[in-house]
Symmetry: D2
């Protein structure tokens, strides 16, 4: 077996989309964020993922965000573009636009809202791939899609050249590991974990890279973590992971009594980036809400503990 050369690997943060207070894409902040991430040493950028508020932005704003990321990246690292839509033809529309805007790959979930059979999930990926020439990563995020992609589904699609990688945000580490083992025979397949508090463990298990929402806030930490793993320094990796896991608790700053998971995650990442001076505003899209002053202080305190303020 020839050595694996995954097309996408390393640290690939799902770039958040900074907004102005009136809800438009804040291009200047987004450019600064991209610069911040690339300078920290990330290996790619994933625009318009769940952290990028893809499900919250109008199509015009989605396009604007992707355009800015591609331009700011300027070919230094590849840009993956989320095409988060309910069903096949809608995904294809977004994917074709992503291609025109310069994305290097598309990231596609199973259908949602629609009630589909696994056979139809399989068809979905095949029809999208045949309509769009770009590399395609399957995005497994059952907390949003309410369908789990199985290892068998992904490996079968990979065998047929339909999917070129997996972005796993399922929390099912054993399932991810089955994909990793099964994909060992596909030279370019990219097995990326979105499980930002398990990177050391998933790297031990053979992941090619990581797509950490928290990587927006502390890209240097994830770059260190990835390198420690890649060099087999597992004790260092665990220590860095533990530090990042503590930092990850910024997602608990917004009260679970008034904020859903999207607000708690994206809202906290944006708040932290505003506090760090990378973006101008912590604004989020309705029906999410911005963090309160008190919640912002909690985020600030954790950033300080982590030495990031």
């Amino acid at each position: 077996m020839s050595p694996r050369k995954p097309r996408f690997s390393g640290v690939i943060p799902p770039v958040i989309t900074p907004l102005t207070p009136d809800g438009e894409v804040d291009a200047a902040s987004l450019e600064r964020l991209v610069e911040f991430l690339i300078e920290a040493g990330v290996d790619g950028l994933f625009a318009l993922g769940s952290s990028g508020e893809a499900a919250f932005l109008t199509d015009a704003r989605r396009d604007k965000a992707l355009e800015v990321v591609v331009r700011a990246a300027a070919g230094r690292v590849p840009v993956l573009a989320g095409c988060i839509e309910t069903t096949t033809t809608r995904v294809i529309e977004r994917a074709q636009i992503a291609g025109k805007l310069g994305a290097d790959a598309i990231v596609v979930t199973a259908p949602f809202y629609a009630r589909v059979h696994p056979v139809e999930v399989d068809r979905h990926f095949r029809v999208v791939k045949s309509a769009v020439g770009l590399p395609l990563l399957a995005y497994d995020v059952p907390v949003s899609v309410h369908t789990k992609l199985t290892a068998d589904q992904i490996l079968s699609l990979a065998a047929d050249g339909v999917v070129d990688g997996l972005k796993d945000s399922s929390g099912d580490d054993a399932g991810f590991r089955r994909v990793v083992r099964g994909a060992a025979r596909f030279a370019e397949f990219s097995a990326l974990t979105g499980h930002e508090v398990m990177v050391d463990a998933m790297m031990l298990a053979g992941a090619d890279g990581v797509v950490p929402g928290l990587g927006n806030v502390d890209p240097h930490g994830y770059v260190r973590l990835f390198r420690a793993c890649a060099e087999g320094r597992w004790d260092d990796a665990r220590a860095e992971q533990d530090r990042l896991t503590d930092l990850f608790r910024i997602v608990e700053a917004a009260s679970a009594a008034t904020a859903g998971g999207s607000t708690r995650g994206v809202g906290a990442f944006k708040t932290a980036l505003a506090l760090r001076g990378v973006i101008a505003h912590a604004a989020v899209t309705a029906p999410m809400r911005e963090l309160t002053d008190e919640e912002t202080r909690v985020v600030a305190a954790r950033l300080e503990e982590a030495g990031l303020l």
Copy 2:
């Protein structure tokens, strides 16, 4: 208490969207379907609901379908338009277009894909309503949205003039009944059940109307059923309901081993309408599949049993 005058009541089928074999909206078939429904005596039309493949159609096709329904209805019955989108600003975009195209009301779900708190679901409806002047019906369809709207949420939104009715496809008849009881004090609130096999029971419980997917196929039956209920002929109602429940088994024609709920429902309704000569093709959007010849024969047999062929 003044007598109730719900704004929307009676039989309001969720109109399916006929397609040409290459996936475009088949305007001629859709016009015939609207005529077929209105002649059967329905009281309104719900375009771009789940049965209307809203989640499967591109925006251009959604617009086309709504435009045809409004034009064909020609003001004889009100047209409700589904605005099925993941979050608030995306719903508002669709709702504004629906208004321009002549819809009499919009039908809106809780956010989906996004992970939101009930407080955020509440905010979602309020922001949409304040941005759009039209009557707004909340669409409770947890099988697709994966969030259940509670009776308390809906009644609170109704009390504040945010929602003007409920289209309940939750299967939670007790919850629907709580809305019905609580909404008795809102003169114009429309409590519509989508539970097409429980219409007699839900009418006994005080529903104002019904939105039956199967009503595309047998509108005359649902009109008879609604009238029997309205006139207190409960034995007649039950008999008609039982007949329609048997007919509803056309949704079991497509094999559960290869077809999801969307295919089994919408695919069967379209197949039945093609067999009845109302629409030209039974085509559905990917990743759904059309019924096979054998499955079509099962639909035909049930239509014959029901005296509809």
Copy 3:
């Protein structure tokens, strides 16, 4: 087709198990409760159901409770005994004891805790039936068992003489209705709904009887409701159902912030019966908790509204 003669029909409350403050079965209170129910006109008694705290009582207390109910009923109405156990051999043990203690039928759920396939659920009922001579009602309570019995499963078991009826606490009224229709050909099959806020609707749909937890508290109301339905007085039935539905809100007295569904239901029923003077104590088994004084006042207020204090 010969006229149906369901073996068990009418109002069959799931009898709660009164306890002394130290957790033993309070036989005197239980005798008074049985007398209260029979004098109100109920048609049967279901001991050791979910409302009877079957899952909370030790085997010795289960036996004691059933023994008291059978003795107090004294043959005036049939006694059904819940055999709530994880798997087949454990159910059989309980069922054999129930038979010895004089139960007229056993009520059995699908396996729980165990992870079983529908084929194994089917086998479960068959093995239990073949080991125990008594009539067997399937108890469909997915909120506790986390498996839904399908209409097809139940009708197949009924056709083979394995189950003699259904106690449906699934909230899936459409599924219940399918059983009712399908069971029309089984002369003695008993279709009992546990959906205490939908009795009128379920009777319209063809139910044979009702097993209302709230029937412990207001058996007279459920007897009136059942008779109105049986006599086709549907407006009277709806009015009585609406009154009982309001009363049912006693299950909201215990705070959802500190009490689970079992406490909120059984705790409220016991509190109401203590307030009405039928039982001596409102004690419940750990880890449930008794209602607080303030919560008890809420129950009392609702009883007064309902004219029951």
Copy 4:
């Protein structure tokens, strides 16, 4: 901080319960199995867990199985006893018997079947602990219990001396890791993972031990794996884990079309042990079924691949 000395650590297989063809505990086979495990170097035995068919055995058979394990272990390794019952008083009964039979600790789940609030789950563990003197491990197995124990719940109970460890079969590795980190301050707390295909990763994350169902079949492999982890030989650990993960596919031998998770797991482990000559019969309790001859051949083939036949 003093160095941690977890009371229970290393490899602690959940011992299966061999049965005779007529369903009685096969004491001779169970003795051989205990000997086989201890000779392989395991550090403890967990009797009457899910793999031990606790939910399937009558109380008499449960007692018999525990008695045999304790006697066969003869004090060489500690014996943990599952007390798998629906609610508090029933657990206490089982726990008191376990104590009398010589168990060194009890393993207790949250209540099941009962519908309880997290506050009640907390009370459950506290009441059990105060009634039983033995060390108590919380058993988190949501696939059976349908309640997830949170890290905060467990750590709060640990801080108060109520739980002395965790047996985690939730598949939520991030949650397990939070317990591990939080429990670092409790000198004797035992963090045991049941995630048998993630042992290397969980050891990297700080687990104290592992409770692998598959450890019945290949205890030598798990002992090697544990030692590699303990000695920081992570590449060796991964290789051993990968080998065991492949072997774990024996749980796919029984067809998912006719067998539930319990049958597929326990049935396969017993079949493998019978093939290896450790136990006499692969019999399981109803409603599970024994593996077919063809399925048995699949298990045999995997054992051969793994060098175990």
